[in-house]
Structures are given as structure tokens and as C-alpha cells.
Amino acid sequence: MPHGFEPLLDYFIVSTILFAIGVYGLVTKRNALRMLFAIEIIINAANLNFVAFSRYLTNPNVTGQTFALFSIALAAAEAAVGLAIIILVFRVNREIDVLELRRLRG
């Protein structure tokens, strides 16, 4: 396929927008699950960078793709732990609104 003619900037802009959406989600959401979504979006933005750079470098190498593979695997592990925590929190507190959890105060 004759793709890859777009300048790198286009990919970078997509990645930047995704990153910004992730940050937006973390700032505004209180639901722990949604915050987890936001984090996953940020990770995906980074992965897009890795793969794009890997293709666009003057001396292309696969390190970027390898990195993306690792990052996907790690993100899955992270999501598993995060979901387990969310389930636990919900079971004990009946609540996953992070701001409503405010037992801990000075």
C-alpha cells in the first residue's frame, strides 16, 4: 500500500490529541474506571509515537515496534491490577467515585 507519504507531523498530531484527551479525562472524571480508560488512551498515544517513529527514522529500526509490544503487554498487566483494585474497592465501599472516597484526611 502506498501509504506513509504523510509527514510524520500528522501522526504526531493524532498522538498529541489522544494524549490531550487522556489528560482531559483524568482531570474531569471521578469514576475510577473512566480514569483507567484515560490512562489507556495515553498509553496508546505513546504507542502510536513508537510505531510511527520506528517507520520514519532515517535509519528505520524495529526497536520502536518492539517497545510498543512491551508497552501493550505491560498495559494489559497494569489494567488487570487496576481492575482488580477497582473491584475490591467497589466490594468494600460500594463506591468507585474517587472523590467520594475521602476517609483519608489530615
Partner: protein, 165 residues
């Protein structure tokens, strides 16, 4: 000349991400997240990284999203969660816009628009396997440990203790 496939993929992944965060029902949000991940996989394909794309689909869409869906089913409750006030959303949007514009201009200042993919020097994705097994095998090992600890930890946390029943 902007490629139509590129545009479509961008629209899908960005749009789906927004829906993932904003959908009223969190189940739809989870599905939208999966769609966004699929869009990313599309990008990987046009970037000549089919192996990563495959991995993205199997792990992210096949495992993570399914896991998220299960959790959503288990919890199924967003009524108690207050929706953010208008000003909070405003702050979030402004922050995101500032960030996106800032980072975009940084990229522009760095001259990424002139950075075009070199033709004819594609690397084969087979090299990934070679790299993994020769150069990066210790990292694979560590990754295995991470996964082991994550599974162990997640199971311990999610498990219902006998006396809790």
C-alpha cells in the same frame, strides 16, 4: 496530500476515545474504547507494523477490553458518581486544548512536518523476533516476572476470602 485512510483512522480513534470518556453508559464507553484501540491497530498496519497491530488487537481488544467489560458488568453502577460540574469540564477542555496546541507547536517548531518516511528501506517485522530473542531476551524475562506478579496480585485482591462470604 493527506491520505483518506489516514483521515478515517484518525477520526475513528479520536472520536471513539472521546466517546469512551463521555458516553453516558459506561458499557458503551468500554466498547468505544475497544473501537479506539482498533483504530490504533489500523494505524499500525499502514505504518508497516502488522505484527504490532495483531498484538494490539489480540491483547488490547481481545483481553483488556473484555476484562473491562466484565468489570463493568460486575459493578454496573454509575448513578452514584456525580457528573463533573460545567466549570470542571471547562477546565478539562481548556487544559487539554492548551496541551494539544502546545505540543503540536513544539512538534512544528522541531520541523516534524518535513520529516517523511524514507522509501525502500523498510524493516521487516521478522526482525522483531530476532531482536527479542537475541538482544532483548533479558527484558522478556523481566516482562514475564511483571506478568506473574500482576496476575498474582490481581487474583489476591479480587479473590473473596473465605470469612468474607
Amino acid at each position: 496530500m493527506v491520505d483518506i485512510v489516514f483521515l478515517a483512522l484518525a477520526a475513528v480513534s479520536i472520536g471513539a476515545s472521546v466517546i469512551a470518556l463521555e458516553a453516558r453508559e459506561i458499557v458503551y464507553g468500554a466498547v468505544a474504547l475497544g473501537v479506539s484501540f482498533l483504530g490504533l491497530a489500523g494505524f499500525f498496519i499502514i505504518l508497516d507494523a502488522p505484527f504490532v497491530a495483531l498484538f494490539q488487537i489480540t491483547v488490547y481488544v481481545g483481553a483488556v477490553v473484555v476484562l473491562i467489560l466484565f468489570t463493568v458488568m460486575l459493578i454496573r453502577r454509575e448513578k452514584g458518581v456525580k457528573t463533573p460540574a460545567a466549570w470542571e469540564r471547562g477546565v478539562g477542555i481548556v487544559a487539554a486544548a492548551v496541551l494539544a496546541i502546545g505540543m503540536g507547536s513544539v512538534a512544528f517548531a522541531s520541523g516534524l512536518q518535513t520529516w517523511v518516511a524514507p522509501q525502500g528501506v523498510q524493516v521487516s517485522f521478522r526482525e522483531i523476533g530476532v531482536q527479542l530473542l537475541t538482544q532483548y531476551w533479558p527484558i522478556l524475562l523481566i516482562l514475564g516476572l511483571v506478568l506473574a506478579s500482576a496476575v498474582m496480585g490481581a487474583l489476591t485482591l479480587a479473590k473473596v476470602e473465605r470469612e468474607e462470604k
